[in-house]
């Protein structure tokens, strides 16, 4: 493809021919011969199997837990409850000062979502662990649950997570992340048309072919080797160190080979409890999610709701944009406060709009805790924004691609969160796209450049 070279002329070459060409991957020889070692390919003599007893309720107080029958089950070696976990209440992002700690490794006094881990059973075989888990008796007092973000934010809604004290994440900016730029109401006042729409998405499961898990082997020198498919090696090591109250030097993590992750393997869930099991029994331990657990228990992409109100002029300029975004964290934070925050920076889209107002809420509900997935915090926002852009173009009778040329950000433009635009290349990308897709736009747009405000 012949690329135009008006932009980044000094660094762009015509000799590029990588796109569309297969390139050998360094790990492929292992994959095609079946030699690549995934964590579950490690097997140690005497390895125990860990199975979780999980909450059948969305929200309930735990009155009592009776593990006596499970402990007597043939093959059972150890049964763990909250009191066995050295630092049971944690949150992953505490490593970057995003608190408070709000999640239990094993439920203590309360469960906040259906599927929450309550008791861990370690047994000689997977079957014995499964059978014994079924014998653990948990007495629950079922509490009212809330599943809808707007319901959760209403006064009087059931409180999901006491560690927060309210059903939203409290940012230093208050109940939501805020972006304020220009005067959005004045912008709406001058607009020829105003369009307000709301967009919603459901949780999405990553469904990797290899399920989440780890294998832990106690070493002779009081260290533990943890073979894991985490996507977040050092996050996991550091959080395991906090949860287990064990110096990081005692933990040796081996990983990097992941049978599909897509963001679904960045939470620190299986490793700490498996290491604890290995420590308390002195035996190797494997904790591997069943396919059902992968689909029902592992964090999905958050459900989101995005409300966009735009003021637009008949000549195509968007003069005001107000966005309220809601991210459904489920019962615990995990990566969602960060996802919602990313949304706040992202919502104006790649457009220069003089008046912008953004609020993004990270909301707690009694749903499965959500977390990272490919571009979390921005992917659903982009869907909403670009559908909105098409609707706006239709509203004023403009070609949707030309409408984007009018509003595209260019180098030097100030973005709403006050980062000046650099290296945008959006105009040039759209020009190439217009040609490649055979979707012609007026000559004045083809003459535009990201460098200047001319044309």
């Amino acid at each position: 493809m012949e690329l135009r070279k008006s932009y980044f002329a000094d660094v762009r070459q015509n000799g590029l021919n990588e796109i569309g060409q297969p390139r050998p991957r360094l790990d492929s020889p292992g994959h095609v011969t079946g030699k690549t070692a995934y964590f579950a390919d490690r097997n140690f003599p005497g390895m125990l199997h860990l199975k979780m007893v999980r909450s059948p309720h969305h929200h309930a107080r735990i009155r009592s837990i009776d593990t006596s029958e499970a402990e007597k089950h043939p093959g059972v070696v150890k049964v763990l409850t909250a009191k066995d976990v050295p630092h049971n209440v944690y949150t992953i992002l505490i490593l970057i000062q995003i608190g408070p700690e709000d999640e239990t490794v094993l439920a203590d006094g309360k469960v906040r979502w259906k599927g929450e881990a309550v008791v861990a059973v370690l047994a000689e075989t997977e079957r014995a662990a499964q059978e014994a888990a079924a014998k653990v008796k948990v007495d629950y007092e079922v509490l009212p649950a809330v599943f809808d973000m707007e319901e959760a934010l209403k006064p009087g809604a059931p409180l999901v997570n006491e560690y927060h004290g309210q059903n939203y994440y409290l940012y230093d900016s208050g109940e939501c992340r805020k972006v304020r730029f220009g005067d959005v109401e004045a912008g709406f006042g001058q607009a020829d048309h105003i369009l307000e729409q709301s967009y919603q998405s459901s949780p999405i499961e990553h469904a990797p072919t290899e399920t989440t898990g780890c294998v832990v082997a106690p070493e002779g020198n009081d260290r533990f080797t943890c073979y894991t498919n985490t996507q977040a090696m050092f996050f996991t090591l550091d959080n395991a160190s906090i949860i287990l109250q064990m110096p990081g030097s005692k933990l040796h993590f081996v990983g990097g080979t992941v049978g599909g992750g897509f963001g679904g393997k960045v939470d620190v869930i299986v490793e700490p409890i498996a290491i604890l099991g290995a420590k308390l029994t002195g035996r190797p331990v494997c904790f591997i999610y069943s396919r059902e657990e992968e689909m029902q228990i592992s964090s999905p992409r958050a459900a989101e709701k995005v409300v966009i109100k735009d003021g637009v002029m008949m000549d195509g300029r968007i003069v005001a944009r107000k966005v309220t975004g809601y991210t459904d964290a489920g019962a615990y934070s995990r990566h969602s406060p960060y996802g919602a925050q990313k949304g706040a920076a992202h919502y104006p889209g790649p457009y220069t709009i003089p008046n912008v107002w953004i609020d993004t809420y990270c909301v707690y509900t009694n749903r499965t805790p959500s977390s990272a997935m490919r571009g979390f915090g921005v992917t659903i926002g982009d869907f909403a924004l670009e559908v909105q852009m098409d609707k706006l173009a239709r509203l004023i009778g403009m070609d949707p691609l030309e409408f984007r040329f009018v509003n595209a950000y260019r180098d030097g433009d100030m973005k709403a969160h006050r980062q000046p635009t650099e290296g945008a290349a959006l105009i040039e990308c759209m020009q190439e796209a217009s040609r490649a897709a055979n979707w012609p736009v007026a000559e004045k747009y083809m003459a535009m450049s990201s460098y200047t405000k001319g044309a």
């Binding site: 991957r25 492929s28 079946g34 579950a40 399920t211 049978g259």
Partner: protein, 160 residues
């Protein structure tokens, strides 16, 4: 629990093991015999990652009881390369970027092998049909299909 003896050929070599009655072939291969090339993605017959070849037929090892395999000839992806030389399918998967995370790859290669053993020059539709029981969540289906077609061409050129 009662143990049962099982004896079969795995990639040409004799294997004998005692397993718990009810043990799946997947479990026996991976945890007893040590061939970890078949993968467990679901243990319920839906993903195809555990595919192996038993007496020339494609089988899901997670749904096959080890004790039903006495005397069988079992082939897995780990036994496909001969004297260190990759099978044309393995070569084609490498060259066509048909692996991403690689977890589905051994199962895909088994399914493709059975197809090519029965159909030397498959159509694209036949390739798609043959791989339809194997899930690739990294969704590299197009390069995988291309790899199988390329391997088929390489095979028939060698034969010619």
């Amino acid at each position: 629990m009662a143990k049962v003896p099982v004896q079969f050929t795995l990639n040409g070599s004799e294997k004998a093991e005692f397993v718990d009655s009810g043990t799946t072939l997947l479990h026996a291969l991976r945890d007893k015999i040590g061939d970890t090339s078949p993968k467990g993605g679901c243990h319920q017959g839906t993903c195809g990652a555990c595919s192996v070849i038993i007496d020339g037929e494609l089988r899901l090892s997670c749904l096959t009881l080890a004790e039903t395999c006495n005397g069988a000839d079992i082939r897995t992806t780990s036994g496909l390369a001969e004297a260190g030389v990759l099978h044309p399918l393995q070569r084609a998967f490498l060259d066509a970027f048909a692996t991403q995370c690689g977890f589905c790859t051994p199962g895909m290669i088994m399914a493709a092998k059975v197809l090519l053993d029965h159909t030397a020059n498959p159509s694209r539709e036949e390739v798609v049909e043959a791989l339809s029981g194997n899930i690739c969540r990294c969704t590299g289906y197009e390069p995988i299909i291309q790899a199988v077609l390329t391997a088929a061409r390489a095979n028939s050129q060698n034969a010619a």
